[in-house]
Symmetry: C2
Subunit: 195 residues, 2 copies
């Protein structure tokens, strides 16, 4: 089994909590990629979503790409990464969705080519963080536009104290987060299940 | 040996040449990631740069990440991906460089944390495309600022008819491109060495 205790330990040891909402994991996930962490992430998603007929993993640039690729190497399926666009024109062969970024205080259009996601696909969405759920909601919209089947959503770190996870689960989405942070602050990080 | 004929065949079969300068390889590298192609890329770089004491691979978001990660899995070193920033402020703990994008007609600042690249590092730079060489030149500047040792530069697809490769080699950089396109257009793609 992929070792989620290792992932939690690395987040506790190397993550930097800024205020009450921001967790920087630049040393192993969001700027530098640590191969031990990436391996645990890939195997963690594969154990949860193997055998469900996933045909493609959908993620969003940039920091989702590495997580999605590690899972893809285990599940042996291609990755499709949605791109962030600032263009005002909308070519006809794209699925598009609007995604608001709270950290960057801007709204971007995310796009995916209609060539690479079709009604025959069974899609696993993967992203690194889940907070308010805006990015995942945008990716879900792309899947819906394609009429592909959604197998589920895999997240590396869910901030359980923000509303995204609860809202997605309430809407019926199969959501699996490798680790869920219940609370964090200057005194440390508490994960759901660590009692 | 990693099979560069396979990579060329995929570029010929699935790449779309637009005008004389643009090659879209969205179906396996720049939007969708094909695992067979990615595997050839990772092994190709590893065969060229193994045994040279590389401690870290430096790339740039977004489409360089997957190529760098595949090489990193072979060479068993971490990846550092420089980020594109539009911020005007420059925090003191960052290496920064200006990179002009010809396709997007804009200049972006690329940044890397000083924490993750030091004089003790031996850096391999990896990117997907080399045309005018602006991105690689920016990455070289980050390495120089860090006083790390540059082992070399690995490129998946070099456009040999643009000036970047020649300029980098003339400056003494060890540059290895998995494939080099000599000419491309409506009639097809000719690679260097295919005569």
């Amino acid at each position: 089994m992929a070792d989620m205790k290792y992932l939690k330990d690395r987040i506790r040891a190397d993550g930097r909590v800024i205020g009450v909402n921001i967790l920087k994991v630049d040393s192993f996930l969001n700027h530098q990629l640590d191969l031990d962490v990436m391996s645990v992430i890939g195997r963690g998603f594969a154990e949860r979503f193997a055998g469900q007929g996933v045909t493609k993993i959908l993620t969003i640039e940039a920091s989702g790409i590495a997580c999605a690729l590690m899972a893809a190497l285990e599940l042996k399926v291609p990755v499709l990464f949605a791109k962030k666009s600032r263009a005002n024109t909308q070519p006809e062969d794209l699925y598009t969705a609007q995604v608001k970024s709270y950290t960057k205080e801007e709204t971007v259009t995310i796009v995916a080519s209609q060539r690479y996601m079709t009604p025959q696909d069974r899609i696993l969405i993967i992203d690194d963080f889940l907070a308010t759920g805006e990015a995942v909601t945008g990716l879900l919209s792309l899947v819906e536009q394609s009429q592909a089947t959604l197998v589920g959503v895999g997240i590396v770190v869910e901030k359980g104290f923000q509303a995204g996870g609860q809202r997605l689960r309430a809407s019926g989405v199969t959501l699996h987060s490798l680790v869920v942070i219940e609370e964090m602050g200057p005194d440390g990080i508490r994960f759901t299940g660590d009692h």
